[in-house]
């Protein structure tokens, strides 16, 4: 057991750090998420390009896919170092973390040639079109349909909560191609050009005030059969690969952590409060637990083992913990804690901003309840929930 870098790891860390210092500013306290700024997208694209040219984009991808052909540990180190800088990475997380790996796994050689490099260089952004108004947790219950017409499929329906659809160039789209079989069996996955005729992206105003996700309407959208990922009816299997890659993605901190609230408490003079100190200890232990559990997973990965459903714990811990920390920080500010004006509120209002974002984090990518089901059923082997629609065809149920 060793927490220190090996000589090669230390060398890579130094190299990564040198590259980062050359191109980015170190993160300043408070400025935890550089999102929301006008030029954010442009900066994000530029940074992605720089990263790819420097050989630091998608460290573990093979070289022929434009990656570095590096190790999982290098990916971890890169993530740790990048997190120390004001790196605008958000818009690429879904595409490079989930969509493009799905294209690599199920796409043709032409697909790989056409899409992978451009995504890696930050020239094209991807989104994931799974959820629908009546199909979120139960995503296999989706209704958007695709009907074959010669060499093309015709898509009609609606997706919702699609992050980044408003600035995306392509998406992976899960649709129903056969309603006369049970719900999981009638789905098919496609690559969709988001800028084509019939795709209508309408930003949704979020509870947090931002407009980061969207409704997406498909009206007689035509997709060539060659842009299908996997066989017709195999869409669920393809989607599971996307979702598994979501677990693999090495995510940074989603917002203020024990350190930020401790710093704030110190400046506010409340760090000596016993009740606060006990909570701080709990947050630290949870954050460490999450971080170190990831290290354990990565150690397993570096030995060639596959990450399992146990990785669902990360999001449960993180999202709840973020919500709690922000809640406490605001209460610590008393009535003043209501203020969201960055010029007035302490720490650039990061606690207030994250307080409004945290509820979404507990829902996006699987709700707490669904993740607990995953742990209970797939890790602990407890009986599955009752599924009354399991053996019925989709058409019968709807």
């Amino acid at each position: 057991m060793d927490f220190n870098d090996t000589a090669e790891e230390a060398e890579f860390r130094a190299e990564a750090n040198a590259f980062l210092s050359q191109h980015l500013k170190p993160k300043t306290p408070g400025a935890l998420r550089s999102g929301g700024r006008e030029d954010f997208l442009e900066r994000a694209k530029a940074w992605q390009k720089t990263k790819a040219e420097g050989g630091f984009a998608q460290i573990t991808w093979p070289k022929e896919m434009g990656g570095r052909g590096g190790t999982v540990m290098q990916q971890v180190i890169w993530g740790q170092e990048e997190a120390k800088f004001d790196a605008p990475t958000g818009p690429f997380a879904i595409g490079l973390g989930m969509c493009v790996p799905t294209v690599i796994a199920f796409g043709s050689d032409e697909h790989k040639k056409r899409y992978v490099q451009k995504a890696l260089m930050g020239e094209e952004i991807w989104c994931q079109l799974f959820s629908e108004p009546a199909a979120g947790s139960d995503v296999a219950g989706l209704k958007t349909k695709a009907v074959k017409d010669g060499d093309e499929w015709v898509i009609n329906g609606q997706k919702v909560w699609t992050s980044g659809a408003h600035y995306s160039d392509y998406g992976i789209l899960l649709v129903r191609t056969d309603p006369n079989v049970p719900k999981h069996k009638g789905l098919t996955m496609f690559i969709v050009d988001m800028k084509q005729k019939g795709v209508d992206v309408r930003p949704i105003h979020q509870a947090s005030g931002g407009k980061e996700f969207n409704e997406v309407y498909f009206t007689d959208v035509r997709i060539p059969d060659s842009d299908r990922l996997g066989e017709p009816g195999m869409g669920w299997k393809v989607a599971l690969v996307t979702l598994m890659n979501e677990r693999l993605a090495v995510g940074g901190s989603p917002g203020p952590d024990w350190k930020e609230i401790m710093d704030y408490a110190r400046s506010a003079g409340t760090l000596s409060d016993q009740a606060f100190r006990a909570k701080l200890a709990d947050w630290y232990v949870a954050a460490q637990g999450y971080k170190l559990t990831k290290f354990r997973t990565q150690t397993a990965l570096s030995r060639g083992e596959t990450p399992g459903p146990e990785n669902a714990i990360g999001k449960i811990i993180n999202a709840n913990h973020l919500q709690d920390i922000c809640n406490s920080a605001i209460e610590m500010q008393d009535h003043f804690g209501l203020i969201v004006d960055k010029d007035e509120a302490p720490s650039d209002a990061i606690f207030q901003e994250s307080f409004m974002w945290a509820p979404g984090l507990r829902i996006a990518g699987g709700t707490d309840e669904i993740l607990k089901n995953i742990i209970a059923e797939r890790v602990l082997g407890l009986p599955q929930d009752v599924r009354v629609d399991k053996d019925k065809t989709f058409a019968e149920m709807n």
């Binding site: 760090l271 290290f295 354990r296 990565q298 150690t299 209970a376 059923e377």
Partner: protein, 370 residues
Amino acid sequence: MNFDFSDDQKFLRDEARKFLEAQCTTAHVREVLDDDSKSHNEGVWKQIVEMGWLGAAIPEEYGGLGLGMLELCVIAEELGRALAPVPFGSSAYFFAEALKIAGSEDQKSQLLPKVADGSLIGCIAVSEGPGEIKAGNIATRLKDGSITGKKIPVTDGDIATHAIVLVKDGSGESLVIVDLNQNGVSREPVKTLEPTRSHATISFDGASAELLGEAGNGMALLDQINDRAAVLIAFEQLGGASRCLEMANAYAKERVAFGRAIGGNQAIKHKLADMYVKNEVARSNAYYGAWALSSDAAELPEAAAAARVAASEAYWFASKENIQTHGGMGFTWEVDCHLFYRRAKLLAVQAGSPAVWKEKLVSALEAKND
């Protein structure tokens, strides 16, 4: 970086588990529970001694196996799983570790070989009343090489042959080593909520004592000793918490109510998922503590505290919700759930309650960030 035990350490774990599953069942634990005159399970203890586990982390020059702290962590987790009713922790985590870090060459060469071969059973005696042990409120006194006062409760105090005792002297607090088989020492068993690990009141009336480390350095030394023991105790807690989850899980699959296994209901499923999450948080923190302990890292104080806070929470939650999952059965003497509930509490308050460790953790973080 490599965040796992080595293959050799995993082999040791498997062997220890196999042995304890056969030789230290809850029936063996209950022999101690059900018999007030028994302080520990002698048969189990004898076999553990024979396997040399007490000397796992004692250097070979002092009669130990000289393996290392990681190996001791592995053994601790298995002893925790098995609820081993033996004075292992008192002797190996507290007494031996205290000697290793603060003992004179003479003390080490005299006493450590005896810890390793089981002829000496060590314990630590600090508590005198309710609440946190603090400098200034220790009443047991050292004067001219002999001590007077009363310690209660002392884990394994009735079977130990030697104790490390926290005392007050002219220069503040000090730690002393006391041979318990001498005039001037009297012991009474004290009833606790965890009868499978015995406890005693020890009264000293002019018993002779030998300084451990420097006079006046007692509180600082105790902190160091507790940091080391904390990691090992965290592994015991982790072992116990894991067993609770396994028990609850097995029962949830087998017990039928309203026509289906109770584990098919989300209230139970999510409870068990919560247990799993807490146990993993505890495991990861314990591994970090193990690394800090084995490499004498500067991070040991915060790593030990985090390990202890996480493990106390995990074991508490797992042991209480294990009873709940078992329903009325779980509240019977015959079903083993309460054994874990008892042990969880002992381990949570030994060497400082979770509140004490939370405070230590935050102080360590503060010091680091200043």
